[in-house]
């Protein structure tokens, strides 16, 4: 009984297979992104979730997020304010002092 012939090493089928992403990896990425967004967009909102408890306190007035490492990548997070709010004074992105939290 003859088995199914294997495709040649550089055949179009093999190339197509190599180009297509692994569905297992895609699944993991999608699930992780969804769960992360769930935290951010739902649980982070006032009393909506248990994780939000800390934010509940903070958002009774204003929100301030200070960071452990005041590194440039944090500029990503300041971007929405920078872009959309003219009234808002965004501290210099590369502040070192006062971010001990």
């Amino acid at each position: 009984m003859q088995g199914k012939a294997r495709p040649k090493a550089n055949s179009e089928e093999v190339q197509r297979h190599r180009r297509s992403p692994d569905p297992w990896l895609l699944g993991a990425v999608v699930v992780q992104a969804a769960l992360s967004l769930l935290v951010i967009w739902t649980h982070l909102h006032l009393q909506a979730g248990r994780l939000a408890a800390g934010w509940w306190f903070l958002t009774t007035g204003r929100v301030s997020v200070s960071v452990a490492d005041p590194v440039p990548v944090q500029a990503l997070m300041a971007l929405p304010i920078w872009l959309f709010d003219d009234e808002f004074e965004v501290p210099p992105l590369l502040v070192v002092d006062g971010c001990l939290d």
């Binding site: 992780q32 967009w41 452990a68 005041p70 990548v73 929405p80």
Partner: protein, 475 residues
């Protein structure tokens, strides 16, 4: 780093944190790619799912802290640098430099991890010195310095060339290393080189980057107060990290850690390292990395600081288990257990303690050791605790680092506070230890191991108790 107010109070943080998610996903991709190279496709699939479902990653990823983002960048950096050590060339050197520079843009601790990678290169050089020709030495050295140059360029670009080329003497420092003398209060002073010939040397790095490293070093030298195994400590002890990992890793992650240790003991790693240079380099990296994380943790004691090491625990464990005959079943069990851990803790991933310790120890032990960032969870306990009380005076948060400076004005604006009224203030342990006399403090409760509720009679106008406050929630 950023502030939001009014109607944007929750929108901006959410938008900002959403932008951090791609960095979070880098780690998943990195686990997949590297595990595939080391142990094959099935191992890669298991690695990416274990990483994606880890409560630690899910809890810390969408926060303003950069530790999980650093994990995502760091795994690619380590891979790129090891590829360079394995095959020194122009392309690998540029890639290593780009990723090394990127790591330094995400966290200051990255410097120490890069030293671990450097150590791997030295080990490899020593082991191959007998057989290597001189021309290869030259090639490696040229590639190494090229990679460093690329990394320096990336760091400069990331900091927008802010005062690049400043004179060393101009840097005002905090750390003992740069001052040459103890500086427990962290005051900025002239550095030790300012009055010497070295002070005139121009530094090819942005000044804020060096200031940040100095700031980090100062914190490392002085340490942070912590709460561990039921005790408040002025500084984190050396065993902080192992203890916290025992509490915080999921059962699946503990299995992987145990597997890699067993594999190391019985010599499986050695046998497998002999099969390929890539495996050998990866396994050489593990002890160097473990040491660098222990050193980086130092007296500071942050669980989240360890997160960039997390992918390596996964990879080492999977690398040890992948050749087993029943790996398919083992993988299914691991991923299933990890999914259950994630679902069971949905919404309070920060608080995750594994099923072996949660509920079996006194409450003070269950929430150990995650002093600063885990406050989010501790505030949850605080909120519940306050809500369960039949009556209580006003509760105010007095954590100086968390609350916006602008809130200080509330002290004056709140007209109905009376000087003689009894109020409860919530301090985290760091501020409690630093700012209050513990012998005299009237502690009402300790919440989650890190929040101290203190009863005080206030003299708000004349003598503010803390720099900042916020009103506590009401039912």
């Amino acid at each position: 780093m950023f502030r939001a107010a009014g109607r944007h109070a929750t929108l901006y943080p959410r938008l900002g944190l959403t932008l951090a998610v791609p960095l979070l996903l880098l780690g998943t991709l990195g686990c997949y790619v590297w595990a595939r190279e080391l142990a094959g496709l099935p191992a890669a699939r298991v690695a990416c799912w274990l990483y994606a479902l880890s409560p630690s990653v899910l809890g810390w990823g969408p926060t303003a802290l950069t530790d999980v983002a650093a994990a995502g960048v760091w795994i690619w950096t380590a891979r790129a640098v090891l590829r360079f050590w394995q095959n020194p060339g122009r392309a690998t050197a540029i890639q290593a430099g780009l990723w090394a520079g990127a790591t330094n843009l995400v966290t200051f601790t990255g410097v120490l991890w890069l030293l671990a990678l450097f150590a791997v290169g030295v080990v490899k050089l020593l082991l191959t010195a007998v057989t290597t020709q001189r021309v290869l030495y030259v090639r490696r050295a040229a590639g190494f310095f090229g990679a460093v140059a690329v990394a320096v360029a990336v760091i400069n670009a990331g900091w927008l060339f802010d005062r690049t080329g400043f004179r060393l003497g101009e840097l005002r420092a905090r750390s003992s290393l740069l001052l040459g003398r103890p500086n427990p209060h962290g005051r900025l002073q002239e550095n030790r080189f300012a009055a010497t010939a070295f002070g005139g040397i121009r530094v090819p790095l942005p000044m804020p980057y060096l200031q940040g490293l100095d700031w980090y070093l100062h914190n490392w030298e002085t340490g942070y107060p912590t709460y561990l195994l039921g005790r408040s400590l002025e500084q984190s002890p050396w065993y902080f990290l192992p203890v916290v990992l025992a509490f915080k890793l999921t059962p699946a992650e503990l299995c992987l850690g145990a597997s890699s240790i067993v594999a190391m003991i019985v010599g499986l790693f050695g046998a497998r390292a002999a099969r390929s240079r890539a495996c050998a380099l990866f396994l050489t990296l593990l002890p160097c990395l473990a040491l660098s994380f222990l050193i980086a943790s130092g007296k500071m004691g942050f669980y989240s600081q360890w997160l960039p090491g997390f992918p390596f625990l996964l990879l080492a464990g999977i690398f040890a288990l992948a050749p087993l005959r029943r790996f398919g079943w083992i993988a299914a069990a691991l991923v299933g257990a990890q999914a259950l851990s994630a679902l069971a803790t949905l919404g309070h991933w920060h608080a995750y303690t594994n099923i072996f310790t949660a509920g079996r120890l006194p409450a003070a032990y269950v929430g150990p050791a995650n002093l600063m960032p885990n406050r989010v969870t501790d505030y949850l306990y605080l909120a519940r605790w306050v809500q369960d009380l039949e009556s209580h005076p006003e509760v105010y948060i007095a954590n100086s680092a968390l609350i916006d400076l602008e809130l200080t004005t509330r002290w004056k604006q709140t007209a109905d506070w009376k000087d003689s009224s009894e109020l409860w203030f919530v301090y985290d342990v760091a501020n409690f230890i630093a700012g209050l006399d513990r012998r005299e403090a009237d502690v009402v409760a300790v919440i989650g191991g890190t929040l101290y509720v203190v009863r005080r009679r206030t003299q708000l106008v004349e003598k503010p108790v803390a720099a900042h406050s916020a009103q506590a929630p009401r039912r």
